[in-house]
């Protein structure tokens, strides 16, 4: 019973930790927009956590610059299991317009397993919410497997 309860709760209370790996701030603003009264992602239980220790979903924006790569990876490693890694915007998926630059390490999936990609430059809030909900389903699955 408790296992089921915990699995159900995992899907209903995903906390986000947001890492900016050199983003232009476009995606960051959109992520905050999702929390505003117009979209209010909190009705699904989402909340921005201040520390990776408390997070379930890590949202990475930006093209993963060489400067930030170590920091991104260490912050991700500090998130307790089960966790879900979401890349947001085109940058962490492909490098976007920065692709090929000596100082950009994108895609992020070269270094860690990425669960959900939210495409767009920047993605629309509706798309972000859709991606986050998909992430919660993956979280629930991961929880169920344990």
């Amino acid at each position: 019973m408790f296992k089921k309860l915990i699995a159900e709760s995992t899907a209903k209370s995903p906390w986000l930790f947001h890492i900016n790996s050199g983003s232009c701030n476009g995606c960051d603003i959109e992520l905050v927009a999702v929390l505003t009264p117009r979209y209010d992602v909190e009705r699904l239980g989402f909340k921005l956590a201040g520390s990776p220790r408390q997070a379930d979903i890590v949202v990475v924006t930006g093209p993963v610059t060489r400067q930030s790569l170590d920091r991104v990876l260490s912050a991700i490693s500090q998130v307790p299991e089960p966790r879900c890694i979401v890349t947001m915007g085109s940058c962490p998926q492909s490098g976007n317009v920065f692709k090929g630059s000596y100082s950009v390490c994108a895609p992020l999936s070269k270094y860690v397993h990425v669960d959900v990609d939210i495409a767009g430059c920047a993605p629309k809030p509706e798309a972000i919410m859709d991606g986050l909900v998909k992430a919660t389903e993956i979280l629930k699955q991961k929880r169920g497997q344990k």
Binding site: I19, R53, D70, R71, V72, S74, A75, S77, Q78, P80
Partner: protein
């Protein structure tokens, strides 16, 4: 003299003092050659000191039954030279419940500190001499509280001041030790001189030095010379108690002295000052029914409480911080005793006892930190709880006790002080006493803040690299701390028993001056008072603890069933995994300890003008402090002349 006569308990007070002085003499006679054992450079001399203190404690402990429970007052004339022609000509010891109460505190602290010293005093030179001074200090204080003769009190003050100054500067290589000793010497001598002057003035008028006889003669015949003597004596004993304005001396002395001596300075020397003030005000001059005298003691007590706790918040050295807290707690004692109600006196004495226990424990913990790391600077330490788990637990017990966290002993006594002050306010319809309650309550929280600072800066937080090899302190030191910690818990959990056996008889003795006089063989027509210790509040620590334990047990069962303890931890061979590093916003781990003197800047910022003022005031120059003493004496004289 046969054996039966020698084991009569009426001799025990003098035995308990003599055994310490005898110990000092034997140790000194054994020469100063250090022993070869690196773990105990004083060799058998340390054991002599330990035996002397243990014997002294035993003698006093066996007096509990007749004096505390049966209410006997032991009067003892040295060489059987009793009263002649209505005047006391011999040297007398008079042990009533008040004397015995303080003597027991002192003997306990001295005994525990002696246990601690054996393993603690290993890195120093001249350790054998340390024990000579140690026994002299202990004997001096014990003699002071057991004496029935005011001139003997002065002699004992001289002995203990001399020993305390020497012990303060014992570690001459420590920065500031000689300076601290010098300051203590200057102001302490001013105090001793003040006492001597007071004694002389009393003797000139009343031709006697016996406390009981003086108490019989002085009230009703107060003239300007008596008032002057009172002011001198009061200031003299104030310097021994380190209450405001003599608090800066304590900070310096504690900071420089070895921890085992800090225990004595804070737990024992200050008590002798408080004892002197109680004897003066309640017995000798019997002025405590005057509102003005109550006001004076309560006012000075409250000021000491608040000023010293704020001074402590500004400290960045472990031992100096403890020193200021010591005076702050003495402020509680003085304020409670100054209320002149039975509950107030009982509460004050209870707090005095608790102060000896928890402050001793804290100083010993500070000593343990110093012993292992070589520093007490809050800014340099950190994270020692992993290396010294036992010391940490013991320190926390002391810290909770002093901060008045239930169910430890500090709370039990402070709780009585809150009630006593509030009751006094209601009874006398004076809102001023209510202010004391508020100050006491707030001071308690500030004390907690201060000890949160210490635990974060020293025992928790991050550990600097140079302390990787720090070990737990030897068993002997932990044993001494353990004894005090157990006493802290026990006296906190059974407040009714403790007050019933120890503080209430002492408070009754304070109220019943007539009996003190008649026990010595003088005629007194002071009536026996009606004493009640009614409390308005309720606090049942045992029941509370029982409920908490059941609640904890229930939670633990749930937690264990829920695999609460199944955690991810770094394994031994895995040292680079970032998962177990602290979160620094993704950055690599660097040493960054939040702690030290300025931890509560949110508080200090609002009080910055006050702290600036205090900082400028405490210049650290001995001339200034001597000036304070003179000004305090002048003020006391003027005040006594006006109000008495």
């Amino acid at each position: 003299m046969n054996l039966a006569n020698m084991t009569d308990y009426h001799h025990f007070p003098i035995y308990s003092v003599m055994v310490l002085f005898l110990g000092a003499f034997i140790i000194a006679a054994c020469g100063s050659k250090p022993s070869k054992d690196p773990k105990n450079p004083a060799g058998f001399r340390a054991w002599i000191a330990l035996c002397a203190t243990a014997l002294s404690l035993f003698f006093l402990g066996s007096l509990v039954k007749p004096v505390m429970l049966e209410g006997e007052i032991i009067s003892y004339w040295m060489g059987s030279r009793a009263i002649a022609g209505g005047y006391a000509i011999g040297i007398a010891m008079e042990v009533d419940a008040l004397s015995l109460f303080f003597a027991l505190l002192i003997a306990t602290a001295v005994f525990v500190s002696a246990i601690y010293s054996i393993r603690y005093m290993v890195h120093d030179e001249c350790v054998p001499q340390y024990y000579v001074l140690y026994c002299m200090l202990a004997g001096g204080v014990l003699g002071l509280v057991l004496s029935g003769d005011i001139f003997n009190m002065f002699i004992m003050v001289e002995i203990l001041t001399f020993a305390a100054v020497a012990l303060t500067s014992f570690r001459t290589k420590v920065y500031g030790a000689l300076e601290a000793a010098f300051k203590y010497l200057v102001v302490g001598c001013m105090g001793s001189t003040a006492i001597l002057t007071g004694v002389i003035m009393l003797y000139a008028q009343y031709h006697t030095l016996n406390l009981a006889q003086l108490a019989n003669l002085i009230p009703g015949t107060m003239n300007n010379a008596t008032k002057l003597a009172f002011a001198f004596l009061y200031i003299g004993f104030s310097t021994k108690a380190f209450i405001v304005p003599f608090h800066p001396l304590a900070a310096d002395a504690h900071g420089a002295a070895p921890a085992s001596i800090s225990v004595l300075i804070s737990g024992v020397l200050t008590k002798s000052g408080i004892y002197g003030i109680i004897r003066l005000t309640y017995f000798l001059f019997q002025t405590m029914n005057l509102g003005s005298m109550q006001f004076m003691l309560v006012f000075i007590g409250s000021i000491s409480m608040f000023v010293c706790v704020t001074m402590a918040l500004a400290q960045h050295d472990f031992k100096r911080l403890l020193a200021y807290h010591s005076i702050s707690q003495i402020g509680y004692v003085l304020a409670a005793v100054g209320l002149s109600t039975s509950l107030g006196i009982s509460a004050g004495l209870y707090h005095a006892m608790n102060h000896t226990l928890f402050k001793g424990l804290l100083f010993l913990a500070a000593g343990a930190v110093l012993h292992e790391t070589g520093t007490t600077d809050l800014g340099k330490l950190g994270g020692l709880s992993k290396k010294m788990p036992h010391t940490t637990v013991l320190f926390l017990i002391g810290a909770f006790s002093i901060s008045g966290v239930p169910p430890f002993n500090g709370f039990a006594s402070k709780w009585m002080i809150y009630q006593a002050t509030y009751q006094k306010a209601v009874e006398s319809n004076n809102i001023g006493f209510l202010l004391v309650t508020v100050i006491a309550l707030v001071t308690s929280t500030l004390t907690l803040a201060s000890f949160v600072k210490v635990s974060q800066s020293v025992f928790f937080g991050q550990m600097p690299k140079e302390y990787e090899n720090v070990k737990e302190v030897p068993f002997g030191m932990r044993l001494a701390m353990g004894i005090l910690a157990c006493l802290c818990i026990v006296t906190g959990l059974f407040p009714k028993t403790v007050t019933g056996v120890l503080t209430e008889p002492a408070a009754r003795a304070v109220a019943n001056v007539g009996e003190y006089i008649t026990a010595m063989g003088f005629k007194s027509n002071l009536p026996a008072p009606n004493v009640t210790f009614a409390q308005v509040g309720v606090w049942e620590p045992i029941n509370w603890l029982l409920i908490l334990c059941i609640a904890l047990l229930a939670l633990t069962i749930v937690a264990v069933a829920g695999k609460y303890d199944r955690v991810s931890e770094r394994t031994e061979d895995d040292t680079v995994d970032t998962k177990y590093q602290l979160f620094y916003g993704g950055e690599k781990n660097v040493y960054s300890q939040v702690g030290g003197g300025d931890l509560f800047w949110g508080f200090k910022h609002n009080w910055r003008h006050y702290f600036d003022f205090m900082h400028n005031l405490h210049s650290g120059i001995v001339n200034d402090y001597a000036l304070w003493a003179v000004v305090a004496l002048a003020l006391a004289i003027v005040y006594m002349m006006i109000v008495l």
